[in-house]
Symmetry: C2
Subunit: 307 residues, 2 copies
């Protein structure tokens, strides 16, 4: 029988599950609410139960790939703020609940999203960087088809690059971090600031969500367009840094902010063109393809690479 | 007979030669003045003649590694400003002058210096970044023992990272580039600026060289110490970017500016410590070990890896 690979993308709000065959086809997927208050032991035991019940027999399970929103190193979640986890040995815990024959791979979720997009991307560039623009900004780097994790699992912490724009205080305590401007939180912050400035005509009175700004931009709302343009400039600045350091082929734009659509990508390209003087480094930008399933595909791939 | 590997590090001032045995021992090395005006055909033919004469028989030559101060991709020097070269197919030209059995590897010189230092470094980190602080600033990235060159040979163009300090115009036409502050040229520029400001007591009247500033700093000259501190801050800022993107184990400081000695490394460590808040990323700093022979060792290694 074709063995199965389980993908588990654990977020602060929901846990997404996916079941793949060994050829990489996603047979089914579903999600459940994360009971953060239950603590890591209960959550991991719950994941093991779901897998055992779905697989019926652990002999049918080739491996399990898991993604977490935080720093991961050698199977251990070093820190995941949204889950209130620190130093949780996910690999050892799951091996205990499952069975030592099952291959377990544990990764940062933004890394997995980048890897998932890489495997499904039609352009097989030898270096791809993905920015996941959500509540914060995560990053993933795929070089020659493999994740680059860094020496302590801390590579691609791109949300905290200093882009020298505005002076908003980041959740990390510093100012000018990339994610203070170009995350969904940053978009809301910028829109609120420009409404207070009363410099732009706008139909927006109170800011509820980043999506509201994207919808307004699609109707030509001047303030919303200006906000997206500033986010695009921040993304172009971070991309210029990635180009000077890594010279990747492509930057993929994923996460909720990528729903701003083709206008966002065009503005990023335009700002990158303006910044790309002196040492000129070619770089293409693409919207991510897999939406919130990118992490599941990454889970599959990382198990396959470890198997 | 043990075959030989020839290393040729071509600079705008001199061409350094090294001869290695296959075990990696540098048997001999020497240098000659670069006759830039002679043009690329004559220079490359000259290099081939030197190798043929030294080896006596090309059957004794396992390979030749060559480094150039510019962008290199697939054996071609795309651009090397100090040599006035553009689109010079070094690999094809040398294969023509030597013999198609000889393995030829062509690389950027800062990449080779990083690779050379990596092979001789006692700490075998799985990710090392080297900053070569000379007239400009070059960079090299070694990941899992291999050079990371980027998709167009443009990775590690670190000299042009925007560090947001001062507003000096760079040779590339932009402002705030890392190399406008922390290169030997930057050190001289800073010293001249602070002399004009008359803010510091100093024994320096006219700035001739970066070395003059390092020598003055060693005698406790306040202005010279302040200049080196600013250069150290610039290096720490660029290092923080490298840490957020790549999470390397070590940053190696090489090139003429590294002659500022242990005071420079200590100031870099201190500034990095101050910048390393929020997302904390461990990083060690070391002075490069091989001086101007790093490139030769890199030439050997890149031939070995290609062989």
């Amino acid at each position: 029988m074709d063995k199965r690979i389980y993908a588990v993308d654990v977020g602060g709000t929901s846990i997404k599950y996916g079941v793949f065959n060994q050829a990489g086809a996603l047979i089914k997927d579903w999600s459940v609410t994360t009971d953060v208050g239950a603590g890591h032991e209960a959550i991991l035991e719950g994941i093991a139960e779901v897998i055992k019940e779905d697989a019926q027999d652990l002999a049918h399970v080739f491996g399990v790939g898991l993604g977490f929103p935080g720093t991961v190193h050698d199977g251990i979640v070093i820190k995941a703020a949204n889950l209130n986890w620190e130093q949780v040995d996910v690999k050892a815990t799951l091996l205990k609940h499952l069975n030592n024959q099952v291959l377990i791979a544990v990764e940062n979720d933004a890394n997995l999203a980048a890897l998932g997009e890489y495997t499904k991307n039609t352009v097989k560039s030898n270096a791809l960087v993905m920015f996941t623009l959500g509540t914060g900004i995560g990053g993933g780097i795929v070089l020659d088809g493999k994740l680059w994790r860094g020496c302590h699992g801390l590579a691609a912490e791109v949300g905290h690059l200093d882009i020298g724009m505005f002076d908003f205080v980041c959740g990390c305590g510093k100012t000018s971090c990339f994610e203070t401007v170009a995350s969904a939180t940053g978009i809301k912050r910028l829109a609120t600031m420009y409404i207070d400035h009363k410099r732009f005509n706008t139909s927006i009175e109170t800011v509820y969500s980043a999506k509201q700004i994207f919808d307004a931009a699609k109707t030509g709302d001047k303030l919303a367009l200006h906000v997206i343009d500033k986010a695009a400039l921040a993304i172009a600045k971070a991309s210029r840094m990635m180009a000077l350091v890594l010279n990747p082929e492509t930057i993929l734009i994923g996460g909720g902010v990528s729903e701003a659509g083709v206008f966002l990508i065009e503005r990023i390209e335009s700002h990158y063109h303006d910044l790309n003087t002196g040492i000129k480094i070619p770089l293409t930008f693409q919207a991510a393809l897999l939406g919130n399933k990118a992490g599941l595909y990454g889970c599959f791939e990382v198990v396959k690479q470890n198997g």
